[in-house]
């Protein structure tokens, strides 16, 4: 039984597949969000040093991780769309950008609100903060460049260039705390050593990371379905879909 890998690379079949998957991810996002917030506020203890302000970590870290991860995923799909000329891949990259930009803004916003009580300042030109700000500009650049070009296929190609060039910024953000060792502290959680965090705090944070993943997938699939309908409105399958919807 040869698996047809390209079955879901056609917008029509992907449209129906993603339609079925969205409710699952919405459900998982809500469940993990409630669990994460409960652990974060009612189970995790007060921090001996930071008191209660540290509870911002339950959205600051997921937002920061998502901002970097979504950019890499966006650049990947933009690259695939550029290389193989598959328009659905480019549609997916276009659908990821707004959610990535939102998480980048949230990482900066929650970071500033955490920095004020802990560092005594909203903003400092620290290596990590500055490279995250550049990431926000890259997202905005990607979205505005694509919006400025009328022909969607040309906009996809132009966007892919910005996305691929900007990927170099992601390792810079990640390693900025070691290379420049400025104000922002190093990684308390990494794959190769024990986390420097209390277990309940870590569990709460990781559940919130999963919640942000589930949310991102649900929202991005929801947006890509609208983009598919926008760009495929001249096709027969959309006309038929509309007839079915009208008949309902």
């Amino acid at each position: 039984m040869a698996i047809n890998w390209f079955k879901y690379s056609s917008p029509a079949s992907f449209y129906s597949l993603s339609g079925k998957m969205i409710p699952i991810f919405v459900f998982l996002a809500v469940v993990t969000l409630i669990a994460g917030l409960y652990i974060g506020f009612f189970v995790a203890p007060t921090d001996f040093q930071q008191g209660e302000a540290y509870r911002i970590i339950f959205i600051h870290v997921p937002a920061a991780w998502m901002s970097m991860f979504l950019y890499v995923v966006m650049a990947f799909w933009a690259g695939i769309g550029l290389a193989f000329n598959t328009r659905l891949s480019s549609m997916l990259a276009t659908a990821i950008a707004p959610t990535g930009a939102m998480f980048t803004f949230l990482a900066l916003w929650t970071g500033a609100l955490w920095g004020k009580p802990m560092w005594g300042t909203w903003w400092v030109w620290d290596a990590r903060l500055t490279s995250e700000l550049i990431l926000l500009f890259l997202y905005i650049g990607f979205m505005s460049l694509q919006a400025a070009i009328d022909d969607p296929r040309r906009a996809d190609k132009a966007g892919a260039i910005i996305a691929l060039v900007g990927v170099v910024n992601i390792p810079i953000i990640y390693f900025s705390v070691q290379w420049w060792n400025t104000l922002h502290q190093g990684a308390s959680v990494s794959l190769n050593q024990a986390p420097a965090m209390a277990t309940t705090m870590l569990t709460g944070m990781l559940i919130m990371v999963i919640a942000s993943w589930m949310y991102s997938i649900a929202v991005i699939l929801k947006r890509v379905r609208v983009i598919i309908l926008e760009r495929e409105s001249h096709t027969a399958w959309v006309a038929e879909l509309r007839k079915k919807e009208a008949a309902r």
Partner: protein
């Protein structure tokens, strides 16, 4: 259970402004994003409806005249 009362919960050890400022903006962005997408879908449906109706009118005009 960390909090004895709701007021203590909202005071958040004196850092309430920062903690709730972060959480409020986060949920505002999340809800805003979801509304934007459904709004985008609704305008698309309306546009499609208009094009579809105008096509029908043209067909009726051609056949009836």
């Amino acid at each position: 259970m960390n909090w004895e009362s709701w007021s203590e919960f909202f005071a958040m050890g004196g850092d309430g402004v920062y903690v709730w400022g972060s959480y409020f903006v986060t949920f505002a962005c999340v809800i805003g994003e979801v509304l934007l997408i459904s709004n985008r879908r609704r305008t698309l449906d309306k546009q499609y409806g208009l094009i579809h109706d105008s096509n029908k009118k043209e067909i009726n005009n051609e056949t009836s005249s």
